[in-house]
Symmetry: C2
Subunit: 304 residues, 2 copies
């Protein structure tokens, strides 16, 4: 089984891109043509099914458009979950679409729970829940995001999937304004998020791919270049998943500093600036997304 980190490194090199396209579909920003197509279906199928079908077509269209410029895709589970079973089914279809384009999928779920519950979250994302006669496929994501607050025994059931070619990105230093409240607290002379980075290093040591990266990475916002550097010091061989580029803050310069290895060692997420580029560019949504992804790739090319 190929390591997740090797698949991600290969995708970065093949596309010459560290762009991670975040799929955060919201109804109020769907293109008018899709709204016109799916709105009439709500009365017949139900609101949940109609919106989920709209999201599925939208996200599949985005994936088709950006696949040549992106290293990976990151669907955000929350936006699908709010449409219940229909949303969950659409999320599965979006992941399959990404795989048809050979894009690794990081499922953004920020899960974290202990023992058998943690294991069940792993199986929801990656597959393998027990059935009567055969296991269930699950969402078949390549990696997921995980929250560290419950400690190492909440991350271990997820990290166990690395042996099956999967990856885990642990929330370490996030890009939101409230992140500092706990993550920047000083613990034995260093910020709490550095303790988390050290935990990530420990968990990832047993899961190194051939390209020199671990299958266990860290989520670190681009909004604080100092945090990025500290996390990189603690994690010289981890992939960093970096949100907060563009709209939220930092540019390409802050990132060049944290490049590591032959495939840059990080991916940079952008969601709204790519998938809703049609609203600022007033172009067809797929063409606008492709243009935004391509220019973001070029901005970040110096990292490679």
């Amino acid at each position: 089984m190929q390591h997740f980190s090797d698949r991600l490194a290969a995708a970065i090199r093949a596309r010459r891109s560290v762009v991670c396209v975040g799929l955060d579909p919201v109804l109020e920003r769907m293109p008018p043509a899709l709204v016109a197509k799916y709105r009439p279906q709500a009365a017949e199928l139900g609101e949940d099914e109609a919106v989920a079908a709209c999201f599925q077509e939208f996200c599949s269209g985005i994936i088709d458009a950006v696949a040549g410029f992106a290293a990976c895709a990151k669907p955000q589970a929350a936006f699908f979950e709010q449409y219940g079973a229909a949303g969950w089914r659409a999320l599965g279809a979006v992941i399959r679409c990404a795989h048809e384009h050979e894009l690794p999928v990081i499922l953004d779920v920020k899960r974290g729970d202990i023992a058998s519950t943690g294991a069940a979250y792993g199986r929801a994302a990656f597959g393998g829940a027990p059935g009567f006669a055969a296991p269930v496929a699950g969402l078949a994501a390549d990696a997921l995001t995980a929250s560290p607050y419950l400690g190492d025994d909440s991350l271990e059931p997820l990290v166990a999937h690395c042996a099956d070619g999967k990856g885990v990105f642990v929330l370490t230093r996030t890009s939101n304004p409230g992140a500092a409240l706990l993550q920047e607290r000083e613990v034995e002379g260093q910020p709490l998020y550095v303790c988390v980075a050290e935990l990530v290093a420990r968990l990832g040591a047993a899961h190194m791919g051939d390209a020199g990266y671990s299958d266990v990475g860290a989520v670190v916002g681009a909004t604080s270049p100092a945090s990025l550097r500290l996390v990189r010091e603690a994690l010289p061989h981890a992939f960093l998943l970096v949100p907060g580029y563009g709209a939220q803050g930092a540019g390409a310069d802050a990132l060049a500093d944290v490049a590591a290895g032959g495939a840059a060692g990080f991916v940079v997420n952008a969601s709204r600036s790519i998938i809703y580029a049609w609203q600022t560019e007033t172009a067809e949504y797929r063409r606008a997304a492709a243009g935004a992804a391509e220019s973001m790739r070029n901005d970040l090319a110096s990292a490679l």
Copy 2:
């Protein structure tokens, strides 16, 4: 709109019980009669649908049996999510069943994300996702569990639902062995989880019910009586959701200390010791669950 905390206080007083029944269905512990009924359906409906239907009947049976002895029910989303859309639908049906028995439902999802994503998680649990013509109902839970690692701006979109009669339990000091790794770290002379408890107090102050409790509570394991007392000091008016009773550790004595107000101010979760009592008692599963819930209620009666 009645406060969540008032509904929970009323349920505690009506049942004279602080028992929270955790619904953690796993296939390998389903009673033989249910397995015999649903196993043949797997070939026709698919493994996911057959297992989800089995879980739905099992959990509904448990709810019927324990409703007279329990203050609330706590379905664990992970066990349903691993069966995809079918599992999500079964989870919704289980929540509706609890509501038919007037049991408040705490959805155990441990979510936490920022801004619009956090809001989407809130709508997944509580309802209100936008549709083309009308909002979507969501799972219609009464409360959810939330993770604090991302800080206050990740909890605020969830706490906002308290104005609509909902509740939030923030992970504060959990009962698992790995919890200490971050939660017990010393920050400015006190453990990190006390910082979280202070955050819970701050977020909950604006959402006080008529019974004297806030709609924003805390998850605190029974495994460490010292932590329970520290959290109670920081949160004199919050409901505590206490896992780790019975199988995992502490007994009723440790809890009497942290009672607060006219409805005890806490609920104690037990999952496996109630729902799988049939395996140790070799009785019909519903009768065994009712017996286990009743005796747990009686053990904890001194708190009321």
